[in-house]
């Protein structure tokens, strides 16, 4: 069976989303360099894979996919086993919990945390722009409100969807990693002990340790 292919840079949070799932299921894959710094994602060869000119794109034989969460779910279903079932789609209640907290990452968690990563790391490091501290401060207020809710939830459940690790937890990897590793605000989680314990548990997973290395070394855009 030919390895599946992922197109895009490993340091992209959305590419990382797919890679962490591939690592979790132990799939064989090939990461294809599409010259992201040179705008390879906007050229016809990549647009044929992703009409929106974004990364990642994905190929499994004749099947071409885009949108990181769609790709990730395909991977998690294809390589599902007795030991590794990160979507729980044969259990209505568990699947619903996975879906809820996957949506929460998109609509609550990421919008609160990512401006901090952008202002403190991405813009200064990759674009030479100064940090807009007002945006950081506003985002910290939002982040605290979200983290309070996560703290209450993770006081009752070991992981976001229940007592099992799932796609919902994995979706939080890249954004949180950058906050912890590349901004001065890692200590934000200290006020939320269950959230901190959840994060440290996730980071002890081999998949996250392996991919964290790539996130530390982003290419210039």
């Amino acid at each position: 069976m030919a390895p599946v292919k992922v197109f895009g840079p490993a340091a992209s949070t959305n590419v990382a989303r797919v890679l962490v799932c591939l690592e979790e299921v132990g799939a064989e894959y090939e990461l294809v360099d599409i010259d992201f710094p040179g705008k390879g994602h906007k050229r016809p060869e990549h647009l044929a894979r992703n009409p929106f000119g974004q990364v990642p794109a994905f190929q499994d034989g004749d099947l071409i996919l885009f949108e990181s969460r769609a790709i990730a779910k395909y991977v998690l279903r294809k390589y599902k086993s007795e030991q590794v079932d990160l979507l729980r789609e044969s259990n209505l209640e568990e699947a619903a919990m996975v879906d809820i907290w996957t949506e929460v990452e998109i609509h609550q968690y990421h919008p609160a945390l990512s401006p901090i990563v952008l202002e403190c790391f991405i813009y200064p490091t990759l674009r030479g722009l100064p940090t807009n501290q007002r945006i950081v401060d506003e985002s910290l207020v939002k982040a605290k409100k979200v983290l309070e809710i996560y703290e209450a939830h993770l006081s009752k459940h070991k992981y976001l969807a229940g007592d099992f690790v799932s796609f919902a937890d994995l979706n939080h990897f890249a954004c949180t990693f950058y906050l912890m590793d590349a901004t001065p605000y890692a200590s934000l989680f200290n006020s939320y002990p269950h959230v901190k314990a959840w994060w440290e548990d996730l980071m002890s997973r081999p998949s996250m340790k392996k991919l964290g290395v790539h996130l530390c070394n982003p290419t210039r855009t």
Binding site: L63, L65, R69, K73, E93, A96, D99, V104
Partner: protein, 223 residues
């Protein structure tokens, strides 16, 4: 006997309507528990116990409490009409997921901004932000070009069968097509035909009854 399924929210919200549309398509008996946005029902403790983020809709199905409209939609269809999630094969499920993500990440914000600016600002006593409208109209132009190409090659977004990827567009587009930017759809024959087919589905017509063009503000817009 009271329905086992309850939806909490105000039905003119495109997010609540997404949940209702799926229930209607699946033929599931449900009760809509009305809430008042103006009265701040979504910020009350009993609602926060259902959704700590204080947003509508919430669906209760027996012992399950589900929030986030796309999680609600997936649950309803997984339980009652999995073919609308492309359950037939891994490839078809993946294609439904792809175009659902496109709806969420490419369509919702620009279409929602235009609806907010063109329809809601008069009711809220704000002025239109034409720069925001123009920026988002440009994004939608590119988006609908992609949809036109896609729908020229396949009958529905995810393939030859209707799916949640198509249905998920309906609630916001119901309002968007009342704005002058409807021309972006009208000018693209395959997107137009796709929209025309969606809006005459009995389920779509049913939820549209709860979605008045004035968003339930009731009075005429302030000038």
């Amino acid at each position: 006997m009271a329905p086992a399924v309850k939806v909490y929210g105000w039905a003119m919200s495109p997010f609540v309507a997404r949940a209702l549309l799926c229930l209607e398509e699946a033929g599931v008996d449900y009760e809509l528990v009305p809430m008042s946005r103006e009265a701040g029902d979504h910020r009350q403790p009993d609602f926060l116990a259902r959704n700590p983020f204080g947003q509508v809709p919430v669906l209760e199905d027996g012992d399950l409490t589900i929030f986030e409209s796309r999680a609600v939609a997936r649950h309803v269809l997984r339980n009652h009409k999995p073919e609308l999630l492309g359950s037939g094969s891994p490839e078809s499920a993946a294609m439904v997921d792809v175009w659902l993500e496109v709806e969420a990440h490419q369509h919702q914000t620009p279409a929602g901004t235009i609806v907010m600016q063109c329809i809601l600002t008069p009711f809220l006593g704000c002025k239109r932000d034409q720069a925001a409208i123009d920026e988002n109209a440009a994004k939608l132009t590119k988006l609908f070009d992609v949809y036109e190409a896609r729908l020229s090659a396949s009958r529905y977004l995810a393939g030859d069968s209707l799916s949640l990827a198509d249905l998920s567009h309906f609630p916001l587009m119901r309002y968007f097509m009342d704005t002058e930017y409807a021309s972006l759809v009208e000018e693209r024959p395959h997107v137009k035909a796709w929209w025309e087919e969606l809006k005459v589905r009995p389920a779509a017509k049913r939820v549209t009854e709860f979605m008045p063009p004035n968003f339930g503000f009731g009075k005429t817009a302030e000038k």
